[in-house]
């Protein structure tokens, strides 16, 4: 399992003209690595994650997963790749009218057949349910299994999203500033949980919290204006590098 990006650019059309979210990004991530993506808002961190989980296609350049170009994949090949990559989003968007258990069960979707997913909507197989309940237990939400997602607090929803990743059991875990909207106490708790969940998997995390990144991630990639500012071991990241990374200097890119 490895990611390889070569001269990748991502351009979004917008009313004010095209916006360059990523520009000439070249990067390689090997299996089992733990990489933190740092950078100011709009540096391109979220865009990069979208390329990793194949929900966006690069405008130029190529991203390869195990040597296969992601942009060339479609249909069931694409599903097969996505199944191996789990994502925890900044604002988790659970399906509001489904229960916490059902939302966790969604982690199975990539491996279920259509018939099985239809049946599971009515009544999931006991083995599938066991996996989902175990995941909810890991995140400490077993008692909320039957609650609708829109009745849960923000932190609880974030934990259901993590449970979903556990159910999915992917090789790669991507997280997009998962603690941005939580209070500090919760952040520490969830960070531990996430690191626990990511054990034995590749972890690529876009983070706001520089200390958290330096403490737990051996490799740091700094992004600024859609370009790679630095790519270094955590021990080698100097305060100067960080100051430059976060210096006020808008360059019209979005993340």
């Amino acid at each position: 399992m490895s990611f390889e990006l070569r001269e990748v650019a991502l351009v979004y059309p917008s009313r004010a003209g095209a916006v360059r979210a990523l520009d000439g990004v070249t990067l390689a991530i090997a299996g089992g690595e733990r990489v933190a993506l740092l950078g100011p808002s709009g540096a391109g961190k979220s865009s990069l994650l979208k390329l990793f989980n194949a929900t966006a296609r690069p405008t130029a350049g190529a991203i390869r997963f195990e040597g296969r170009r992601l942009a060339a994949l479609a249909g069931s090949d694409l599903r097969a790749v996505r199944r191996r990559i789990g994502t925890v989003f900044q604002q988790p968007s659970l399906v509001p009218s489904l229960t916490a258990l059902q939302n966790a069960l969604c982690g199975h979707l990539g491996s279920w057949s259509l018939a099985r997913s239809l049946r599971a909507l009515l009544a999931a197989a006991p083995s599938d349910t066991r996996v989902a309940l175990a995941a909810l237990k890991t995140v400490g939400l077993l008692d909320k299994a039957a609650a609708r997602a829109d009745e849960l607090s923000g932190g609880q929803q974030q934990r259901v999203a993590i449970a979903r990743v556990l159910v999915q059991d992917p090789e790669v875990v991507l997280t997009d500033e998962p603690f941005a909207s939580l209070d500090p106490g919760l952040t520490a708790q969830l960070a531990d949980l996430l690191l626990h969940v990511a054990q034995g998997r590749t972890l690529i995390a876009a983070l706001h919290d520089v200390e958290l990144a330096l403490a737990h991630f051996p490799r740091i990639v700094g992004l600024r204006g859609g370009r790679v500012a630095f790519d270094a071991k955590a021990a080698e990241v100097s305060p100067q590098m960080l100051r430059e990374l976060y210096a006020h200097e808008a360059r019209g890119a979005v993340g």
Binding site: S93, L94, S97, L109, L114, S117, L121, A161, R164
Partner: protein, 573 residues
């Protein structure tokens, strides 16, 4: 467990209704029927565009439009007093009435207000085709009865819609006016009307669209216009003429929709700044006097087309009185009532089976018609042939829905009779085809408008398009889908009472026969029965919507109003 019971009960009810509606699959595959349908379809082409026939089409179209315009104007004129009197916040409850002395006069006004509400309900519960059937007999031949049927039926719809709009305005200004000594009518004129006028205009235009669709089918019971010509051409086996007439009908409906949408947009924009109607009236008076005259001339032309020239004819009103007298007392003899059990049951069964067919066929077509599932899905293969195929399937699904929807139920009945023979099954099938067009479009739009973020997360996990539909879109859309379906069933029940007028079984046939034989006391009983049936369904649907488990099924007042207006006709929203 509970869910299994519910599913079982629904399935059993469907089977019972299918028996009631005489559903059979064999006629659908019977070679003789297929030949009849084949001959019909071949007969549709080429359309009859001969110089002798086109003027007939033009006259019929103009007449239908005239009937619709005059019917709308009259229904507004009748609906406004009904609406004002029916406004609870003026006469029955709310801040205006708090602190007032209880008096006989106040009680009388409150009672009158309830009567106005009840009258609106009665007028709109009886289908406009039933009104038309009576008025054809009461007012004689020509377009006048059709116009009056629309006026009466839509007065009921608008009376309710207006009252709801008047009740929905913020009460502050009214209370202030009342406190400064204004009478209630003054409070209405200065406090309610300016706030509600824009919406009143918008909904009136909306009801005009519905009126156009309704006017086109009134001809089936003898009220002239396009419906009458379609009926006649079908009887004469001139299917090429049917094509031309249907094309004229679709064009008329689309034209009316476009006209109304354009004007509605203007009213709604103006409504933001206050009274759209008043502003428009002012504009009309000053800058655009010439244009105003043109509008007035068109209106007069419409009334002339709608048969109002003859309304002053000597003998008409006494005749109407004699006719109305014959309706009373309604025939309530047990022997007659016993004969109504079967048609009543058939009517309910037709509505249920028709809705079920509509749900099934509508869903099948809605999926390819949902752009987010097919054409706008970035995961699909991107080769040109694959993309062209997807666009073609999507377009074909949308077009099928449009065709199903734009042909009125009663025309479908005529076609279904060819396919499966006379009787309730033809009615149910016809209802199902039209309903599929309406529901399929609503389903597709609902699915497209589901919040995308949860669905996108499922995509990232590796869920395919149909899995995203099942686990991401359906759970978010199901309550809206259910409420649309429930509303459509209410509409269908009303329509199923009239499909019998053209051979589709149920109460309509009994009504038609009794009117034909001049047994008006029996016909009056049937109208009462139809009213009770529709009122009971409305009450049942209201309860379903209010169930605590059906959270979210209740619609926003705005859309509920639109659907009230819609339910008065065979229209598609």
């Amino acid at each position: 467990m509970k869910r299994a019971l519910l599913v079982g009960a629904i399935a059993a009810a469907l089977v019972v209704c299918a028996i009631g509606a005489q559903v059979q699959t064999s006629p659908l595959f019977d070679p003789a029927n297929l030949r009849a349908v084949g001959a019909f379809v071949r007969g549709l082409f080429p359309p009859d565009l001969s110089p002798a026939f086109l003027p007939v089409v033009a006259r019929a179209t103009l007449r239908t439009l005239g009937v619709a315009v005059a019917g709308t104007v009259l229904s507004m004129a009748l609906g406004l007093p009904l609406g004002i009197l029916g406004t609870a916040s003026l006469w029955r409850r709310g801040p205006l009435l708090e602190g007032e002395r209880h008096s006989l006069g106040r009680a009388a006004l409150a009672a009158a207000s309830l009567v106005a509400r009840g009258l609106s309900r009665f007028l709109r519960a009886v289908p406009e085709l039933v009104w038309a059937l009576f008025f054809v007999v009461g007012f004689g031949l020509g377009p006048l009865p059709g116009t009056l049927a629309l006026a009466v039926s839509y007065a009921g719809v608008l009376g309710r819609v207006y009252a709801d709009l008047f009740e929905a305005v913020p009460p502050g200004p009214i209370v202030a006016l009342h406190a400064s000594g204004a009478t209630r009518l003054q409070a209405f004129a200065a406090g309610i009307w300016p706030q509600a006028a824009g919406s009143v205009a918008a909904y009136s235009l909306y009801s005009f669209e519905c009126c156009v669709r309704s006017a086109a089918v009134l001809g089936f019971v003898g009220a002239g216009g396009i419906g009458a010509e379609i009926n006649l051409s079908m009887r004469l086996f001139e299917y090429g003429q049917v094509t031309t007439l249907l094309a004229a009908l679709v064009l008329l409906v689309l034209g009316a929709d476009a006209f109304s949408r354009a004007l509605r947009g203007r009213f709604q924009r103006n409504a933001v700044h206050g009274s759209g109607l008043l502003r428009d009236a002012l504009e009309l008076r000053s800058a655009r006097r010439g244009l105003g005259l043109v509008w007035l001339a068109l209106l007069l032309f419409a009334f002339q087309q709608a048969g109002f020239v003859g309304i002053a004819a000597a003998g008409l009103w006494p005749h109407l009185g004699r006719f109305a007298a014959q309706l009373f007392p309604p025939d309530l003899s047990p022997a007659f009532l016993a004969t109504l059990v079967t048609p009543l049951w058939q009517t309910v069964a037709i509505s249920v089976v028709g809705t079920a067919i509509g749900i099934a066929l509508g869903s099948v077509l809605a999926l390819p018609a949902t752009s987010t599932l097919l054409v706008a899905d970035p995961d699909r293969r991107r080769g040109l042939p694959a993309r062209a195929l997807r666009v073609a399937i999507h377009g074909a699904a949308r077009a099928s829905l449009a065709v199903l929807r734009s042909i009125p139920e009663l025309v479908w009945v005529l076609l279904c009779i060819l396919a499966v023979g006379l009787g309730p099954f033809a009615g149910a099938l016809a209802l199902g085809l039209h309903t599929a067009g309406v529901l399929g479009k609503l389903y597709a739009e609902t699915l497209e408008e589901v919040p995308p973020a949860p669905v996108e997360e499922l995509r990232a996990i590796g869920a395919g398009a149909l899995q995203r539909l099942l686990w991401g879109m359906w759970p978010q859309a199901r309550e809206t889908l259910a409420s649309y379906t429930l509303l459509r069933w209410e509409t269908n029940l009303r329509v199923s009472t009239v499909v019998g007028l053209v051979g589709g079984g149920g109460l309509g046939l009994a009504l038609y026969n009794d009117v034909q034989l001049a047994f008006y006391d029996r016909a009056a009983t049937l109208v009462l029965l139809i009213y009770l049936l529709v009122a009971a369904t409305d009450a049942l649907a209201d309860r379903l919507r209010r169930r605590p488990t059906a959270r979210g099924i209740a619609l926003a007042p705005e859309s509920a109003l639109a659907l009230i207006a819609e339910s008065g006709s065979a229209a598609a929203p």
